[in-house]
Amino acid sequence: MSLLDVCDLSVTFGRRHRPALDGVCFSLDAGCRLGVIGESGSGKTVTALAVMGLLPEYARVSGKVELAGHQITHLSEAGLARLRGDVVTMVFQEPMTALDPTMRVGRQVAEVLRLHAGTESGPARAAVINMLGEVGLEDPERVADAYPHQLSGGQRQRVSLAMALINAPDLVICDEPTTALDVTVQATVLAKLNDVLDASGAACLFISHDLAVVSQVCDQVAVMLDGRIVETGSVAELFARPQHPYTQGLVATARLDQTIPGQRLPVVEDFYRPGVSR
């Protein structure tokens, strides 16, 4: 049985007619990594929030989301809260605002540990410092006592990662975790993400608009367009034989090394025009 099983998931917000998600199906086995790729508005983040059970209350959800044997769409708020942070966690895009500015980061990480494991403050602190070191933060003691505004974007994103991993979850959802970072920082954070996921054996749902970034973390990819998954497969397969015109565009823009010098750079619209194929 797979860890995460999403079947025929549809989400509509308010009175809007076009659904944000339209019959999405995919599954993810324990310890595996799936990249979800698509442009903004394609439904990537809505999928992630649906798995977390964090969709706003005015969202209308239908279909099945089964995580580690729990029906997410049927759980009460308290039941969901027990899963979040323990079985499933999430790393968000914007490291500058994802942490409480009025609380030391060490305490924010420790609270997650205490919330689910009930650890007393002595061992909690040791575990937090250990975790902060594991995600590649230098001088974790000092970082633990810092407030978010005293840290750089890369450091904060590592703290978010530590928060997500501290309870050894089965599934980590990463929503564009490196998009807001500098390119150089991006590479080191991605490398570290690979390391810690390997070390913990957690499964990962990795959301990005950038095929190149996804290919560094995941082996399987799902391509989303207008609330549907239009193509799935291994990264290698996708690069070699993209089927959907939109995927062909994505591959072309991700493989700029294959562009003939002097020619115009390819754009997705060369391959897929919104509205034409529908």
């Binding site: 977390m52 964090l54 209350e57 005015y58 708020e77 308290a78 809260a81 027990r82 899963l83 979040r84 942070g85 323990d86 966690t89 999430m90 968000f92 914007e94 605002t97 994802a98 942490l99 409480d100 500015p101 009025t102 609380m103 609270e111 997650v112 919330l115 689910h116 407030y147 505004h149 005293q150 978010s160 928060m163 997500a164």
Partner: protein, 320 residues
């Protein structure tokens, strides 16, 4: 460095407001048509008596000299002398200060205890009926004049149920039980009316928190909405609420003056209203100046307290 600048700016605002308000008070009492000596003595006074009083009070000096003399005394804690009784205004103020302070202090606390949970609920449930009920109740509460609220409370709890005394005051040192019984209705009345105004601000501050990424982070690691809001919202919302609270100080004081009149409490409000009816201009001037000074000091202190709440400010202070 930035923090030092902020403190200096705030102190500057305090000083300018104090001087400006004192000039305004002085101008209203001295410079507008309506001679102070004439007002004090009444219409029947002989010109000689008026002239004599003018000389006594130094009203024949240039206005600027009179103002500087008066304001200098205010800064040293001398708020003038009652013309009618000959008592120093300070000696009239001090025995009544306790009543007003109890009323203002308890009402500030009471209004926060009411408004923060209600505002949080209104924010958390803003799309369901609970939130709408809270907001609508606040809207209704804002429309109720504080003195009418007091009169209705008297009708219910003193006239009908006979649980509490309708009016009057007993000092704490004399009989603590009776003191509390006499203060309950005034404090609750003022708290409720004040809370109705505060709820909108509390709600807005928490709605802001609900839209913050760190709230979503807190939810994603397993906090329930209420606990996430308590853990991470309270402190963050209080940063913006402190500013509102600073602005509320003067409206609570004004409310206290009115409430004192409803319940016949011997506080600063009753001192002022008696002085107005007796046309004891110097007592009015001194008491108003004292109240303005108190409001300005409290607002400044409240404003400074947000430096303690916000670590971004605190860090700036440590770095200095």
């Amino acid at each position: 460095m930035q923090l030092a600048g902020r403190i200096l700016t705030r102190l500057g605002v305090f000083a300018i407001s104090l001087v400006g308000a004192s000039v305004l008070i002085f101008v209203i009492t001295h410079a507008l048509p309506g001679d102070v000596a004439q007002t004090l003595l009444g219409d029947q006074a002989t010109p000689e008596a008026v002239a004599q009083l003018r000389a006594e009070l130094g009203l024949d000096r240039p206005l600027v000299v009179q103002y500087l003399d008066w304001f200098g005394h205010v800064l040293t804690g001398d708020f003038g002398v009652s013309h009618l009784s000959g008592d120093a205004v300070v000696s009239l103020l001090l025995p009544r200060l306790a009543v007003t302070m109890w009323l203002v202090g308890f009402s500030m606390i009471g209004s926060l205890l009411l408004a923060i949970p209600a505002g949080m609920l209104a924010a958390l449930k803003r799309r369901s009926w609970q939130g709408i009920v809270v907001s609508a109740t606040a809207q209704l509460g804002m429309a109720i004049p504080v003195f009418w609220g007091g009169i209705l409370a008297v009708m219910v709890f003193a006239v009908w149920l006979r649980w509490l005394p309708a009016n009057g005051y007993v000092p704490l040192t004399q009989n603590p039980g009776s003191w509390a019984a006499h203060l309950v209705m005034p404090v609750v009345t003022l708290s409720v009316v004040q809370a109705a105004v505060l709820i909108r601000y509390v709600r807005a501050a928490f709605v802001e928190v609900l839209n913050e990424d760190y709230y979503r982070t807190a939810r994603s690691v397993g906090w329930t909405p209420m606990r996430a809001l308590l853990r991470h919202g309270l402190r963050n919302a209080s940063i913006s609420l402190v500013t509102v609270l600073g602005l509320q100080v003067s409206s609570v004081l004004v409310g206290a003056i009115v409430v004192e009149s409803v319940f016949n409490l011997p506080g600063l409000g009753s001192l002022l209203l008696t002085a107005v009816s007796q046309r004891d201009l110097l007592v009015v001037q001194g008491t108003v100046m004292f109240l303005v000074l108190a409001v300005l000091v409290i607002s400044a202190v409240v404003d400074f307290s947000y430096l303690l709440i916000d670590p971004r400010q605190r860090a700036a202070r440590e770095a200095r």
